[in-house]
């Protein structure tokens, strides 16, 4: 049985923890709002990029001169996994969920006899993955100093990935991140980056496009192939940027709900401790009273 003093200390420490988790929850809520705004602001670009890409891919077709980033190397022996996680912990299952998905992927690829390489974005994923896949990690990107993810950061990662591809380091590239649904639901997602799956020629969209064109023929300046070679690396950067923004929102959402839980747990704990503290205090008072009374009776 802990003494009264122990209980008092315990209550004080849990209260302090509760204050911290509460503060973290509020900070996460504020950051979440900002991250969501950023994700929303970036949406028009990626949407229009998708539309432009679909249009141009239609024009170029699957000819032999379409860029390698789109057609791939024709093999799938070496896989590059870009695993995007957070820089910090204390956000529930956020990091481990992404890593778990990546791990399952790795296991499947390895059992199929493929070679796997990993590029870690964010410290946490690196920390977890290096335990059992250390030799597979080729590099890690640190975003710790980055306050709000900018397109420049995504562009840097994209360049690195494309440079690796040009050197023939891998055949297929998959991006892992967490898609933001709501504060309580973030879905770990795997998305293939290279070869870029060409946006399928949606017939309704094509028809609408043709109606807008009014029978005129699209002109390309410089020619379509050249625009496509310029567009695809940019599209990869946009995809990574989107993934990073989704991740940022998911991280804050996950942290918010994790800290909400922690705050509630701390509250319950305080209640329990206070109850046993009061009981013990009462017991002690009763004991003292009995001692006084029995002492008086003995006289």
């Amino acid at each position: 049985m802990p003494s009264l003093k122990d209980l008092r200390n315990r209550i004080a420490s849990v209260k302090a923890t509760q204050k911290i988790t509460k503060a973290m929850q509020m900070v996460a809520a504020a950051k979440l709002r900002r991250a969501q705004e950023a994700a929303e602001a970036a949406r028009p670009y990626s949407q229009r990029m998708g539309a432009v890409l679909a249009n141009i891919a239609n024009a170029v077709g699957d000819g032999e001169d379409s860029p390698r980033l789109m057609t791939g190397t024709g093999k799938s022996d070496v896989h590059l996994l870009v695993v995007c996680t957070a820089e910090r912990g204390l956000c529930g299952g956020f990091n481990s969920q992404i890593v778990r998905l990546a791990r399952e992927h790795i296991r499947r690829l390895v059992s199929e006899g493929k070679q796997v390489k990993i590029l870690c974005v964010g410290k946490k994923g690196y920390d977890i993955l290096r335990r059992d896949h250390r030799e597979k990690i080729i590099d890690r990107v640190d975003l710790r100093d980055v306050k709000a993810v900018g397109f420049v950061d995504a562009d840097k990662i994209a360049r690195q990935v494309i440079a690796l591809f040009d050197q023939g380091e891998f055949d297929v590239c998959t991006l892992f991140y967490s898609e933001f649904r709501s504060v309580i639901s973030q879905i770990p997602t795997a998305q293939q980056l290279i070869p870029a799956s060409a946006p399928s020629g949606d017939t309704a969209a094509t028809d609408a496009m043709n109606a807008r064109l009014g029978g005129a023929i699209y002109e390309y300046e410089p020619d379509a192939g050249e625009i496509l070679t310029d567009l695809i690396p940019r599209n990869i950067a946009v995809q990574i940027f989107r993934a990073l923004l989704e991740n940022a929102a998911s991280e804050q959402g996950a942290r918010m709900s994790a800290m909400d839980n922690a705050t509630r747990n701390a509250g319950e704990m305080i209640e329990k401790l206070t109850l046993s503290y009061n009981r013990q205090r009462q017991a002690q008072i009763t004991k003292e009273l009995i001692e006084i009374i029995s002492g008086a009776e003995a006289l």
Partner: protein, 135 residues
């Protein structure tokens, strides 16, 4: 009153403009061009330069972009800019930083193709620096 069309300027981070415009001057990679309503469908890459928009209400707005794409349709024009800034709020520091970065990359460039591309990019940036007075 001339016909108007829908003009949109989007950067990866946000939507900069979405408005009805009368005429837009774009820095196309093959040369400057003015887009007006009922322009033939055209898709062009852009070089770093200044975009000038004449809005339907007669106002003029300028933006600095660093490369990108323009998707032009008879009833609209969408510019996907790599990075876009309002001309009024733009200071030379950002441009100088980009030139610096491009120079550093040029130093390490391997292969003639890449070097040539970077040289071109650099000259476009320095031309832009000539037209934009440093803050």
């Amino acid at each position: 009153m001339a016909d108007t069309f829908k003009f949109e300027l989007v950067s990866p981070e946000r939507l900069l403009v979405s408005a009805e415009a009368v005429a837009v001057v774009l820095p196309g990679s093959e040369g400057e061009m003015t887009v007006m309503a009922k322009h033939a469908p055209l898709m062009s890459t852009l070089r770093p330069g200044v975009i000038t928009v004449e809005l339907a209400d007669g106002q003029k707005q300028s933006f600095i972009v660093f490369g990108g794409f323009a998707d032009i349709l008879p009833d609209g024009c969408t510019v996907l800019a790599e990075a876009g800034y309002d001309r009024a709020a733009f200071d030379g520091a950002e441009l100088a930083r980009r030139i610096e970065a491009a120079r550093a990359e040029r130093e390490q460039a391997s292969g003639d193709d890449q070097a040539f591309k970077l040289d071109e990019y650099l000259s476009q940036l320095t031309t832009l620096q000539g037209t934009v007075p440093p803050a």
